[in-house]
Each structure stands twice: as structure tokens, then as C-alpha cells.
């Protein structure tokens, strides 16, 4: 019996030993599988033809990388929207803020100067209030400018290298002037009331001179791209000065200067409108009504000669290259000018409507209100003529019925003779609206008042008659004669406006007041008209910026540096207008922040 238990123990021990051995072998194998192996040993152990091929490939790639020659990239791609749209939006935002920062000091200086001359402190306060909008705007201008530059260098390196080849001598003065601009602006703003009046005015003058100089340099770069000069046939620079003074440089300088003032005035008026609508007291409403009126007055005064500056710019484009001119007016962009007509027509309608609403704040202005309906009819007619296209979108059967792409009667309104006539009469009509507003509540006391009135009417009718006659005459003469008729048309309107103003100023000296002007007593819809004008001006600037730049089509520098990027095509007008709208909305969101920040200083003063 004793031997049986021992046998059991022996069997159990054998099983345990076997299990222990198995476990030990398992643990050893597990540990060995994770043991560190030197790479050499591993490679040698796992060398296969595939691994060898991979190693050869990697070595060849490394050799190719070491020996790769440097080559300059022409383009880089911006994600989602593409490089063109990215640069387009940034450039437009930079330009809008730059236009504002250049324009506001110009009319602020004039307002301050008027206040200094007549000793009316209200003008000084108004100028100061406008200036509040500047400091944040200057920061945004500089930020967008830097952003734009980085994007251009990043996305269009080869083209930017070419521009640097031509314009490198202009960069240092540009940066230097920018520092000077900041100096003058902040000294002008923070030095309000801390310097003598003359010193402060001189600071404002310095600010304007430096700002204009900055604009002149930047304009040289962009106008060179459309009408290059001062370079050889292959694009090598011969004279940077000639490149600066290219065909469209001076017309753009003048056009931009005037357009900037119109735009700046309208945005400042929109600020006043915002403050008017949010005002809680009659005194605030009166102040912001006046501010809005001045801003709008500045905008409209600058707006009236703008089409003339536009003619000059267009004629210089034609003088440089008929092809370029015809691409603009008769080719890919011809329909853009119909959109422009809608915008400018709206600007004229809005400007006149604001003046007519403004008569409500002046006592005894009722005597002029009867004329408004005639002015409205004239404006509506001219608007319709200007917006009539030469060729009409029609079906095949409609085109066949009309005998071509143009309407048999309305087609005659689509040519330049009709459009020049319409715009000149629009300008004259708006001027008459302003004249009526100016006369509201006053009557002349000079003995020759009747003669003066008769002269004014005669001059206006004569100018209108000349414009109309030359417009009709243009249909019966050859192209070489017709193209020159716009000059006497413009000349007669300008003469009429100057002559009538001179007579009016002399005639209304010591005029008898028929009633008070009640600032603030105006329908709130007038303030929305001011906002409408500001949005329309901004949108118009975006659209015309597009045509100025898009005119080059598939050229970075017209006829010299070709655009070979994926964006070399000209997009549809629908696409372009969508980009313009996005830019305009972004601008108004940002300018809203500027308004809000400018208002914060008012709150601080109120709490103090």
C-alpha cells in the first residue's frame, strides 16, 4: 500500500516538472522575441531582394535630392479659393482702407481750415470727430498691406521678382513715407487742441502731402502692369522713372484722388447716419444730421467731376493700346459698364433724393418742391439711357426679328453718344438739385437778382442744349469726329456749373433769411440713403478695381509678362460680382468695428 501514494506523487511531480519546463521554454521564447537586435545583425538576417531594391531606391533618391538644381517657382497655390481670389480680396480690402485713410484727412483739413477762417468752433469739433475714425483705419490699412505683400511674394514669386527688378528703387521711399504718415497722423490726432491752430493745420497738410506721395508710388506699380513703359522688348528695365510715368499713371492718380474723397466722404456720412439713428437726444440728432450732410456734400462734390476723370483715364488706355481700350469697352468687359451704369444711376438718384429730403429741414423750402418731379423725370430718363445695352440678350428668333443683336430703336441708346449725353445731363440735374437746396430758406436782396436768375437759367439751358445737340450730332459723323465730341460736352457742363456757382455766391451775399434750418429734423429714411450711398460707392470701387486689373486678361504685365497660372482666364461677371460683394461685406464688417471703437471714446468722455 505504501508504494502507491509515492507513485502518485511521482506522476504528479513529473507533470509539474513538464509544465514548468514548458512554461520556462515559453517565457524564454517570449523574452527572446523581444530582445534588442543590432541593425546590422537584423539587416543581415532579413536581407531579401525586395529590401535590397528599396535600399537602392532610397539611396538613388538621396543622391538625386543632393544634386537637385535650384529653380524658381512661378506660382504657389492658395487652398480652396485659389491664389487669384485670395490676392484679389486682400488687395481690395487694403485699397478700401487706404482710400479712406487718404480721403478723410483731406476733407478734415478743409473743414478745420474753414473753421479756423470763420472762427466757428463747430467745424473744428466736426473735423476732430472725423479724425477719430482714422487711427484704427490706418492700422487696418497697414495690416492688410503687409498681408497682401506676403501673399503676393508667396503665391506669385516669379512675377513679384520681376516687379522688384523694375521698381526696387521705389521701395525704400515708400516705407519711409509710411513711417512719416504714421508720425503725422498720430501727431495730428493726439495733438488736437495741444498745438497752435496754424501748427495743427500744418501737421494736417503734412499728413495729406505724405499720404498723396504714398499713393503716387503705389499707383506707379499697378499702372505699369497695365500700360508698361521704361523697359526693353524683353522686359529689362531701362528707366524706372519712365516706368513710373507710364501712360495711365497720372490719370489714375487724379481719378483715385477724386474717387477716394467721394468714397471717404460717403463712409464718413454713413458713420454719421449710424450715430443719428442710434442718437437718444435731439441735440445728438442735430449734430449727426449736420455731420452726415457735410460728409455727403464732400462725397457728391467729388463725385460730380469723377466721370470726367474717368474719360481721361479711358482715353489714355485707348492711346496706349486700342486693343486694350476695346477689350474694356467693347469686348469681355463691355457688360460690366452696364452694371456700372446701374450703380452710378443709383448714386445720382440717392444723392438727389437725400438733397430733396434735406429740404424738409429748411423752413420756406416748399416753393422749390414743385421742381422735384421734373428733376426726377430727367434723372430717371438719363438713368434708363445709360443702362441701355448696345446688344440685347435675346433668343435666336428674337435676334432674327430684330435683324441683329441690337434693338432697332433702343439699340441707338446703347452707343457712347447717348451715354455721354445722359451722364452729362445727370450731372447737371444733380447740380440743379443742390442749387435748389442751397437756396431753400433764403431770398436774394441784390438789385440784379432777376437778371442773375435769368442768366443762371440761360447758362444751364445752353449747356444742356449743347450736350443734347452734340449727342445727336454724334450719330451723323464719322468715328474720328465723334470720339472728340465728348470734350465740348464735358466742357460746357463744367463751365455751366462754375459760372452758375459764381453768380449764385454773388447773388446770395447778404441774402434775406426766410426761415431756420432745423438740423436733426429729417426723416430717418434719409440716413438709410446715406448708408445706401456708402455701400454703392464701395461696391462701385470694387467693380472698377476689378476691370482696371482684369483688363490685362492673361498678362501680369500687359504684353510683357504672361500669366501662365491656372487663374490666367477672365472669370464671368457673375463670379466677379460675387467676389466684389464678399469684399464689400467684409469691409463693412471691419468698418463697423472702426465705428464702434470710435464710439468708445465718446462713452469714456460721457462717463468721465
Amino acid at each position: 500500500m505504501k508504494g502507491r501514494p509515492n507513485a502518485k506523487i511521482a506522476v504528479a511531480s513529473a507533470v509539474v516538472v513538464a509544465l514548468a519546463l514548458a512554461a520556462t521554454v515559453g517565457i524564454v521564447r517570449f523574452v527572446l522575441s523581444r530582445e534588442y537586435r543590432a541593425p546590422l545583425r537584423s539587416d543581415q538576417a532579413e536581407q531579401t531582394p525586395r529590401v535590397q531594391a528599396q535600399q537602392d531606391e532610397a539611396a538613388a533618391q538621396a543622391k538625386a535630392d543632393r544634386e537637385r538644381p535650384y529653380s524658381e517657382e512661378s506660382y504657389r497655390r492658395f487652398p480652396v479659393v485659389g491664389s487669384r481670389v485670395a490676392v484679389w480680396v486682400l488687395a481690395q480690402l487694403h485699397l478700401l482702407f487706404a482710400a479712406f485713410v487718404l480721403a478723410v484727412p483731406l476733407f478734415v483739413l478743409i473743414i478745420e481750415f474753414i473753421g479756423w477762417l470763420n472762427g466757428d468752433e463747430r467745424y473744428g469739433e466736426l473735423a476732430h470727430e472725423f479724425t477719430k475714425l482714422l487711427s484704427v483705419s490706418l492700422s487696418l490699412t497697414a495690416s492688410f498691406g503687409a498681408f497682401l505683400l506676403f501673399m503676393l511674394v508667396l503665391l506669385y514669386p516669379k512675377f513679384m521678382n520681376y516687379l522688384m527688378h523694375v521698381f526696387s528703387p521705389t521701395f525704400a521711399p515708400y516705407v519711409g513715407l509710411f513711417f512719416l504718415e504714421a508720425f503725422f497722423l498720430y501727431t495730428y490726432y493726439y495733438g488736437w487742441g495741444k498745438f497752435s491752430a496754424v501748427t495743427h493745420l500744418l501737421l494736417g497738410l503734412g499728413l495729406n502731402i505724405v499720404g498723396t506721395a504714398i499713393m503716387l508710388i503705389a499707383n506707379a506699380w499697378l499702372t505699369f502692369m497695365t500700360t508698361p513703359a521704361g523697359i526693353s522688348e524683353s522686359g529689362a528695365v531701362i528707366s524706372t522713372m519712365d516706368a513710373v510715368r507710364n501712360y495711365t499713371w497720372m490719370p489714375i492718380n487724379i481719378h483715385r484722388m477724386i474717387a477716394n474723397v467721394a468714397f471717404g466722404g460717403s463712409v464718413a456720412a454713413a458713420f454719421a447716419a449710424f450715430k443719428f439713428l442710434a442718437a437718444k437726444t435731439d441735440a445728438e440728432r442735430a449734430h449727426y444730421d449736420w455731420m452726415g450732410y457735410i460728409g455727403n456734400f464732400v462725397a457728391i462734390c467729388a463725385f460730380l467731376p469723377l466721370p470726367f476723370a474717368g474719360y481721361w483715364l479711358a482715353s489714355e488706355i485707348y492711346a496706349y493700346s486700342q486693343t486694350l481700350g476695346l477689350t474694356m469697352m467693347g469686348g469681355a468687359f463691355s457688360w460690366l459698364f452696364i452694371i456700372q451704369a446701374v450703380l452710378i444711376g443709383n448714386l445720382f438718384l440717392g444723392a438727389n433724393y437725400y438733397l430733396w429730403l434735406g429740404m424738409g429741414r429748411v423752413q420756406a423750402s416748399e416753393r422749390f418742391q414743385g421742381y422735384i418731379k421734373y428733376l426726377l423725370i430727367l434723372i430717371a430718363l438719363c438713368f434708363a439711357v445709360w443702362a441701355t445695352p448696345r446688344s440685347i440678350i435675346a433668343t435666336v428668333s428674337e435676334t432674327r426679328a430684330m435683324g441683329g443683336g441690337s434693338h432697332p430703336q433702343l439699340g441707338y441708346l446703347g452707343v457712347m453718344s447717348a451715354k455721354n449725353t445722359a451722364v452729362n445731363i445727370l450731372i447737371l440735374t444733380t447740380y440743379v438739385s443742390f442749387l435748389l437746396y442751397r437756396r431753400s430758406g433764403r431770398t436774394p436782396t441784390v438789385s440784379w437778382a432777376k437778371l442773375g436768375n435769368a442768366l443762371q437759367v440761360a447758362i444751364s439751358l445752353l449747356a444742356g442744349g449743347i450736350v443734347l445737340f452734340l449727342g445727336i450730332y454724334g450719330y451723323f459723323v464719322e468715328a474720328s469726329v465723334r470720339i472728340r465730341l465728348s470734350v465740348p460736352q464735358v466742357g460746357s457742363v463744367l463751365f455751366a456749373m462754375i459760372a452758375v456757382t459764381v453768380i449764385d455766391v454773388l447773388m446770395y451775399r447778404n441774402a434775406k433769411s426766410l426761415g431756420e434750418t432745423h438740423w436733426g429734423r429729417i426723416h430717418p429714411i434719409s440716413q438709410y440713403v446715406l448708408i445706401f450711398l456708402a455701400v454703392t460707392f464701395t461696391w462701385l470701387m470694387g467693380l472698377m478695381g476689378y476691370v482696371r486689373s482684369g483688363l490685362r486678361q492673361h498678362w501680369h504685365v500687359y504684353g510683357v509678362v504672361r500669366d501662365t497660372s491656372v487663374d490666367a482666364f477672365t472669370p464671368t461677371l457673375g463670379y466677379a460680382t460675387r467676389v466684389v460683394s464678399v469684399t464689400v461685406l467684409l469691409f463693412f464688417l471691419l468698418i463697423g468695428i472702426v465705428f464702434w471703437l470710435a464710439s468708445l471714446s465718446d462713452h469714456t468722455k460721457e462717463h468721465a
Binding site: 467693347g330 468715328a479 438709410y528 460683394s581
Partner: protein, 172 residues
């Protein structure tokens, strides 16, 4: 509920912008691409040459931007209807081929009465047609009322000595 003023202004701004965007969608929509290269070969029949020339006229040559074919009225530039026949009679001493070549390569030498100078030099940027492309274009112009005589082998420019190509008096 009273809507805050900033919100009203925002809504009004968006509505005004939307209006102009809609106006932009109502006009004809056309994407303009850089001109395509027209395939030209040495051995081309007159018909093939005319077809290629028409393509160049409407594309790379940009001719259609200014010139019309078969239109009348107050036109800014000469209509090209029948130019194939008219070319031989425009300037005494110049054949149709010489006249067309001169009009394309040195366009300011002669301006059709009643019109202004404005024709660009066709073989220089931004248009920059090659000599072969100019030949195809000339073939097309000849086909407008005339007989096509140019081939891809023709040498049309500069004009031969004594072809009557002397510039009019007074020209630099």
C-alpha cells in the same frame, strides 16, 4: 420687438450688396480663356488655311474685338466684308496681298479715310502672331470676297522693293 439699430444697418447693407450681386448675375456670363494655339502645317489646302485663319481672327488675333464683318452704320473701325476684293484697290501700286500684309505688319502707314489710327502691330506683343499665323489670317481675309492666293510657303513681309510700299509723305 424693436430691432437694434446696428442689426437694421447690417440687414440693409447685406440687402444692398445682394441687389448688386443679382444685377451682376443678370448680364451675359462669359469666361474668357487665353487664346488657343491654332494647329498649322506646311501642307495645308486653301480651305484648311482659311479655316485656321478664321480661328485666329476670332481668337489669338483679337481682330473681332474691333472689326465687324457685314455691319454698317457708325462703326469705330472698318468693316471687313469684301476686304478680299477691296484690298487690291485700296492703295495704288499695292497688290491685295501686299496691302493686307502691310495693314497687319505696319498698320499706321495707311488709315482708311474716316477712321482713326488704332490697329496694333500684329506680330508684336500682346497679340504676337507668328508669320505662319499671319499667312493663315491673310488667307481668311482674302476669302472675304476675293481669291485665296497665299499659302504657307508665301513670303509676304517685308514687301518686295518697288512694290509701291513707300510710306505717305509726312510720315516718320
Amino acid at each position: 420687438m424693436k430691432v437694434p439699430v446696428p442689426l437694421k444697418i447690417l440687414g440693409f447693407t447685406v440687402a444692398t450688396t445682394a441687389f448688386y450681386t443679382v444685377v451682376g448675375q443678370l448680364v451675359p456670363q462669359k469666361e474668357v480663356h487665353p487664346p488657343k494655339q491654332t494647329a498649322l502645317e506646311k501642307e495645308m489646302t486653301s480651305d484648311e488655311l482659311v479655316k485656321a485663319g478664321k480661328e485666329i481672327m476670332e481668337g489669338k488675333g483679337l481682330c473681332s474685338t474691333c472689326h465687324t464683318i457685314g455691319k454698317s452704320g457708325p462703326l469705330p473701325f472698318p468693316d471687313l466684308d469684301g476686304i478680299g476684293a477691296k484690298a487690291a484697290t485700296r492703295r495704288p501700286g499695292l497688290s491685295a496681298v501686299d496691302y493686307l500684309a502691310q495693314s497687319l505688319y505696319d498698320p499706321d502707314v495707311y488709315i482708311v479715310p474716316g477712321f482713326n489710327p488704332g490697329m496694333p502691330v500684329i506680330d508684336e506683343p500682346p497679340i504676337g502672331l507668328t508669320d505662319q499665323e499671319v499667312l493663315a489670317l491673310m488667307a481668311y481675309l482674302q476669302s472675304l470676297g476675293g481669291q485665296v492666293t497665299v499659302t504657307m510657303e508665301s513670303k509676304v513681309w517685308p514687301l518686295a522693293e518697288g512694290s509701291g510700299a513707300a510710306p505717305p509723305a509726312g510720315r516718320d
